[in-house]
Every structure is written in structure tokens, then in C-alpha cells.
Symmetry: C2
Subunit: 314 residues, 2 copies
């Protein structure tokens, strides 16, 4: 068990990320009190029956009163409204953090509402699954994953230190980065991958030549891998693309340029260009495994024959 | 244990697929004799030490002599040369099959060499991992996966039945399809997904704004999923793209059109269009799970904290 990091923690939003924080904090005693807030009464009741907190409310201002650390765990498009709602109730000395996948937009939305004497320390744990809601969280979600902390210039060092210690205690590795650079890094490592996964699943679903049942039955050749991230929470991801537009469009432009070159290589039968790319890309996966961010097991360690017994073809 | 399907089986090529066939055939007694052939003496020795066959040779004609069923398990670009090499040694009544990911090209390459009295029954088990070579195979690779059988028009029904029974005994579900339709289906369910995975990994590796070590460390946000299929065998995949050019370019065109529309939605802040797509794509994954082709476990069942303990950042 790690040491207690804060007396009173408030979680605004209790989905996959918020509920995972709640679970690791309570398992390891990282906070004296966990106040859980979410807007929908049904979700709050679910959080209560999962025993995720010490107190429960649908009122964000109520939840943050007396909190030492507030972590906002909502889709990034809601960050500004949350900051506005909690601002009057924040105590002097409190730290406000978040878990959003975009950082410049979150800071632009939240900073204007943060009262003097309260420190804003945005953060982004790079962890998740394709499931969402309070039932989807688990205490080990952040173990061995990276949490990027992106303090605006001039942020109080002690507040940054506390947020760093908090995430380390949750099992994460931490790094500090400017919000701009974060948004560029995540555009290529997360946002554009999600976009092209959503896109190919959409393309496949709308073909006339190939039926949806063919797409689903014969997906083990590669397509099914893409459907995992294309099953991620629609609200969260809509907000990501609307809130990291510049970096996403920039990285998408690079992707499309490269894809055009590859298309040309296929059209002209340039096998050497294809072979050369397909050889270079292997090294990146080896690097990810060496950095401890991926299993070495083939096929993600999926069990052979993964899935239920086959249905009869219609 | 299933019944014996053939007396003598010849495997031409003993990589991931060939060695997986060898393993399930020997485990379940599906053939009286398994003749293993591969060109490289080191690979043949490896196959021998793994006990994959009853006889071993580097000479394809030697391997197929007296075989009832010959399964060619080589990159699709080598199909014609293999057919030419084995043709003089095939016995009357033999069945020649393959496992290639493209079918019209394989038939065009092989059919002209097949002697009268020998039946060509092309097939494609939709199964694999990102690893290659005889060590990468395992007996359960085909369990609960689909094997598509694509006989050219007029193929002897009894030969198609035997190949169907063979793959069923290997644990696969089978379907019969025209070679043209196969190539269109696989273009969207396998070839284009591989192409865009290779492409984004290549794009990420060559950015100046984001270092390779950042790409690798912070890949858990989605990118790492793409690196698995982008680590697939380069020779096999070069051949796939060169041998299914028309269907791949057609499906890639659809993908690019849709991506352009999505890019526009991001540029103009059309959140409803994004949300609508991101909602529809969830249904496809549910379908794949219902068809028994994917695990229900979140994150492919990857264990939390998957990977070795984190390295120190450089």
C-alpha cells in the first residue's frame, strides 16, 4: 500500500477513467476521502453500488468543497462548463487537474474560471479500453502506462509535484510536456489512429459489394483489430477531434500524403518500395515492446480461437 | 481425434501457416504421412527438429510425389514457380490447394501448370499472427476461424468436398466463394487494414516534430494496436498487394473518399457527423463478437499493465 497523497479527492465524472482512479485510490489508500460526482442520477447510483467513493452527489460544486485535489474526468468538450460550475466552491490551495486527451483546449476552457490561489495542473493518463462507464473501470488500468502532465507556464512546482506523486502512486510513469507538444504527440499516437479506425469500419459497413455479415465473419485477417478502437466512446472522441483540430489535421495530412505514395507504389507494382516500408515498420513494434508498452505474446495474447463458437452462417 | 482425411499430405512451405497445418494434422491424425518441403536448408532443419513431418526435402517435386493432397503455403508471388516445379511429379487424382490471401492471381499463376487428372482447389484460411516461420505455428491457429474455398468454375465436386473436410477437421468453418468475390472481401477485411496500419506506422516513424521514442512510449492511446499487423511478414504482404492490385485500389479509393469527408467534418466542426459515425461503428464490433470472431474481453484481453516494467526514459 502506497502512502496517502491527499486528504480529500473529488472526482468530477465517474466513467472508465474516473472509476478506475476511484478504485486504485481506495484500494491503496491514496486519499482520506473520495467525493464522487456525476450528472446523471442513474450513473451516480451505479457508482454508489460499486462502492467507488465516500460521498456522492450530482452537484459538482458540492463535490469539490474542501477538496485538496479535484480531477475532472469528463469529455473534453465539457471542461469549460465544469470549471465554471466548480470555481465558486474551490478552496484556496486546491489543485484542479483533469484526464483529457487534448490539453491546449482544456486549458483554454478551464483556466479563465480558476480562482486565484487555486492551481490548475492538467494531466492525461494514456490508458483506456473500448468500454465506458463506471462498470468498465479497474484499479490496474494505469499500471505501467504513461501519464503526461502539462502545466501551463508558471504553474506552482509543488502542485505539479503532487500531481506527479499522485499518478506515480496510481501505478503510472509520468512525464512533463508542454500542452502544445502533448497535442501533437497524441494526434499521431492516438487521435489519427482512432480516426482511421473509425473511418475504415465506416467504409466497410457501407459497401454494396461486400455484405456486413461477410465483413464480420471474415474479419480475422486484420479488420477486427480496428473495430476495437472504433468501438470507443462516441462523445469522448467527438470532443477530442473538435478540440485538437489543428494537430489532427496536420498529422492526417502527413498520413494521407504517405498513403498516396503507397497507393502509387501498388498501382505501378513497385514491390521494393512496399517491402522496404513493411520491413521498417517492424522495428517500431519491437521498440514499443522494449519500452514495456505492449505484450510480446502473438496476437495481443488473444487466446487461439478467440470468441464464442461460430454461429451458423445466415 | 478426427478421422484421417488423406493418406499422404505434402506441405510446400513450412512457415506460420504450413507449420500450423503440420501441427494440427499430426496432433489429430488427419494424414497418414506428412511430407515437408521448404527451400532453405536451415528452415528445413528447424522443421525437422520441431518434428513437423514424416519426411523432409528441399525439393518440391520430391515432396509431392504420391501425395493425395498438396498444400502450397508460400507467399502468393511464388505460386506460379511452385506449380511449375511440382507439376511433373503430381500423381493422377492428386488435389493441389494453397493458403494464399489472394485467389484470382494464384489461380492465374498455378492453373496453367496443373496436369490433366489433377484437381486445383484454392483455399484461404483467414488466420494468422504477426509472427512468421516454422516456430510461430500452433495447432489451434485455425480453430473457430474461417477458411474460404474458391474453386474455379467446373472444379470436381469431390475434390472441393475433400478440401472442405480437411479444413473442418483442422477446426475451421468453411465457405465457398468465387475467387473474384474473395479478393474483394479480403481487400476490405484484410488488405486495406494492413496497408493503412503499415502506412500510419511509417508516417509516425518519420515525423520531425515527434520523436520515435515518444511514439513508442506513448503508444497505448491507440497506435500500438496498429503496430501488430504492421509487424507482419514483409514478403508475404508485398506479394499480397502486388497480386490483388485492382481490388485493393478500389477499396482504398472508398476509404480515402470517406476519410476526406471525415477530415472536412473535423475542419468545419461538424460534431454531429462525427458522433453519428462513431456510434454506427460500435455495431460492427458487436457483430464480430456475435459471429464468434473476437473476444468480448476489453482490450483484446491484454493483461493490465501489459508489457515489461517500463524502461527509464532516455
Amino acid at each position: 500500500m502506497a502512502d496517502k497523497i491527499v486528504d480529500r479527492l473529488a472526482l468530477i465524472g465517474i466513467g472508465l477513467i474516473g472509476s478506475s482512479i476511484a478504485r486504485v485510490v481506495r484500494r491503496d489508500g491514496l486519499a482520506g476521502h473520495v467525493a464522487v460526482q456525476t450528472r446523471r442520477p442513474e450513473t451516480l447510483e451505479r457508482a454508489r453500488s460499486l462502492d467507488l467513493g465516500d460521498s456522492y452527489t450530482t452537484d459538482a460544486a458540492d463535490a469539490v468543497r474542501d477538496a485538496d485535489l479535484v480531477i475532472v474526468c469528463v469529455p473534453v468538450g465539457a471542461s469549460g462548463a465544469v470549471a465554471e460550475a466548480i470555481a465558486p466552491a474551490l478552496k484556496t490551495g486546491a489543485i484542479v487537474s483533469d484526464v483529457g486527451s487534448t490539453k491546449t483546449s482544456v486549458i483554454a476552457q478551464m483556466a479563465p474560471h480558476i480562482p486565484p490561489g487555486v492551481r490548475l495542473v492538467p494531466a492525461h493518463p494514456i490508458a483506456g479500453t473500448e468500454h465506458s462507464g463506471p462498470d468498465a473501470g479497474f484499479a490496474d488500468l494505469f499500471r505501467n502506462r504513461w501519464c503526461l502532465i502539462t502545466p501551463p507556464e508558471g504553474t506552482d512546482e509543488t502542485a505539479v509535484d503532487l500531481v506527479t506523486r499522485f499518478w506515480t502512486a496510481c501505478g503510472a510513469n509520468t512525464d512533463i510536456m508542454t500542452p502544445d507538444h502533448h497535442d501533437m504527440v497524441l494526434a499521431i499516437t492516438s487521435h489519427v489512429p482512432h480516426l482511421i479506425a473509425y473511418n475504415i469500419v465506416g467504409t466497410a459497413a457501407e459497401l454494396e459489394e461486400v455484405t456486413n455479415s461477410e465483413v464480420m465473419k471474415f474479419s480475422a485477417g486484420g479488420f477486427r483489430d480496428f473495430t476495437r478502437i472504433a468501438a470507443s466512446d462516441p462523445t469522448m472522441w467527438r470532443d477530442v477531434f473538435l478540440n485538437n483540430r489543428e494537430a489532427v489535421l496536420e498529422m492526417l495530412g502527413r498520413f494521407t500524403e504517405d498513403l498516396t505514395a503507397l497507393q502509387r507504389a501498388i498501382r505501378w507494382g513497385d514491390g521494393d518500395a512496399l517491402f522496404d516500408l513493411f520491413t521498417r515498420t517492424r522495428a517500431i513494434r519491437r521498440g514499443i515492446i522494449e519500452y514495456g508498452q505492449e505484450t510480446e505474446a502473438p496476437d495481443f495474447g488473444r487466446s487461439p480461437g478467440a470468441g464464442k463458437p461460430a454461429q451458423k452462417p445466415e
